[in-house]
Symmetry: C2
């Protein structure tokens, strides 16, 4: 038996198998790759292989682009977008395009090649989050950029091409479609109900209890009611907050702990699966620029009332078919209630 | 160097590498699986393994659910949606859902287990298309259904779980998100310009010539200007036509020939890649039902003027990362102009 469920924010439909729901072991996992240590260009001592570092956490007085760092941010050697130049709109007959202006950075999360993010110390993971924040804050000074994407690919079948722990940061001159749809959905809900849709979802999840995996003083993680993927997890700040860059030291540590917690639960429950996670943050450089087209800044959205920044984590357990690719309609073989149950049942370093 | 390109219909952005564009051999291909013949439940003589057939092309007088068929349509043994019951909307707090009503059928395209669709005779592939049409026509009689998805997964990494050549048909009680966005984009363009956006795209492609792969009397195939995936191909009827079910015998054969043509070019050029294709057709059972919510029928869209049915073919050459999953923004390593050039350069049975 299945249910057709509608995502409250984006409006997309998913088919959820609420009976005969698949247990973790029903999913085949593709192997994660581990390239040989000698070839890794992100390891200490190989700093000259990357473009010069943009930022790093290193002992006072240690030289840039030399070993000793704990976290290191470098431009992507093969960037999808380049930072140099003006953003020029062009037209080719009916088609619109821009030159590929943007930023594409790599955040190397640890000097240790095979350290799993789920096994970072609280301080190490807080350092990663603090660099997400400082790159976000730095890149948004560039008025050409309208959105910053923070994301992590883990494992070859989740799109990682390098095994050394790292995240990526891409600054874009327009707000991406999914984010714009989320903002528009959130604004519409706010106009109709006078409340933040994310706050309402959190209230609903607290009331139902069944899809919550764990929580701490500042954050909660749950499996969404209408997921796109099995065992999809969302991390939300408990307090209404549209601005990712504003989280303070306590919240940073709490976020690091809950991220580690859910990743170690996934590792235990789903046999160290490949995964992607990404932050959905507010657009940048958008206020009062009403002359811009809607895909640049989300129109006149005032996101501070209606948007809640958050992290979505997607383990890569299934293959996308022509049905999903062609329709944006998803099929999910595990009821999120069951998924949350499996993830709750395993222990994690933080839950002990 | 890259370009940021905007899809004219859906509005989504893609990053296209217009310099240092990847050639076909730069893509790694995952292996296609071929399960052992003895275990295939779609082969002749194994008809009792599937649910009873719904439709078939078989010699006059031959018994249903017995060998002799050339094309066979059966209900999916593990359906995502079930045909029995009423469609009931339910509410769980803030969330909306329906019971999983719909149809999920499998179209077995040939009795020959390892025949490649690209190597079907003109008559064989026309039979497949005629069954797409007749299932479409039959399923739309059921007023509960608002959309019919016709799609094909080829190869394990494109989501196929059975190696025997087959397509799938899913009837849904709502119009899927991507289709609705396409219809809304097409309607907006029509309102602004007074013309069909697809007809304008075809005119542009004829004028540019560079992204066209091949054409015949009724159909054209080209690589779209802002693709989501490398070597993505779109097959369009040359004549404005919103109704897939209305194509006649001549058009059916022409469609079969161009589908074979592009699939054999992909096979030769990309080393028999896994792929998905799907039809984007008009919604069904939607006219004049203004009391229904927009996700059921596309509001007051009159699609006959502004929509062109078509087929999109996506070879599976890359892995989706957190960037695409999180944003709906795609990165494509091969310029569609180059992709079309590679696909034009190889010979196909039809081009000789």
């Amino acid at each position: 038996m299945t249910e057709l469920r509608r995502d409250l924010i984006m409006g997309q439909w998913v088919i959820v198998h609420t009976q005969d729901s698949w247990a973790p072991e029903r999913y085949e996992r593709e192997s994660r790759h581990r390239e040989r240590l000698s070839t890794c260009q992100f390891c200490p001592g190989k700093e000259f292989f990357t473009p010069p570092e943009i930022d790093a956490i290193r002992p006072e007085g240690s030289a840039a682009n030399a070993p000793g760092w704990r976290v290191r941010v470098v431009p992507n050697k093969f960037p999808a977008l380049r930072i140099e130049g003006n953003l020029d709109e062009r037209q080719e007959g009916v088609y619109t395009f821009f030159n590929g202006i943007g930023a594409h950075e790599v955040l190397i999360e640890t000097p240790v090649h095979d350290k799993n993010l789920a096994e970072f110390t609280d301080e190490e993971i807080a350092h990663v989050i603090s660099k997400y924040q400082s790159r976000f804050t730095d890149l948004r000074k560039d008025k050409r950029f309208k959105y910053i994407v923070l994301f992590r690919n883990y494992g070859e079948s989740a799109g990682a091409t390098v095994g050394h722990p790292h995240s990526q940061i891409i600054a874009l001159p327009m707000v991406p479609k999914y984010v714009l749809q989320e903002l528009q959905g959130a604004q519409k809900y706010y106009e109709e109900k006078g409340r933040c849709v994310y706050c309402d979802i959190l209230a609903q999840e607290y009331s139902d209890q069944e899809r919550i995996i764990t929580e701490n003083e500042h954050f909660i993680v749950f499996c969404p009611f209408a997921p796109r993927y099995p065992f999809e997890c969302w991390i939300f700040p408990k307090k209404h907050n549209a601005d990712f860059s504003a989280i303070d030291d306590k919240e940073r540590y709490a976020l690091g702990r809950i991220l580690k917690d859910v990743l170690s639960r996934m590792k235990a429950c789903l046999n160290d699966p490949p995964y992607n996670y990404y932050c959905h943050v507010s657009p940048i450089n958008s206020k009062g620029e009403d002359h811009e087209p809607p895909w640049c800044h989300g129109g006149k959205l005032d996101v501070s009332h209606c948007f809640h920044w958050h992290i979505e984590i997607i383990p890569k357990l299934t293959r996308t078919t022509g049905f999903e690719r062609g329709t944006g309609f998803y099929m999910v073989r595990t009821d999120p209630r069951m998924a949350a149950g499996y993830l709750r049942a395993v222990s994690s370093p933080n839950s002990s």
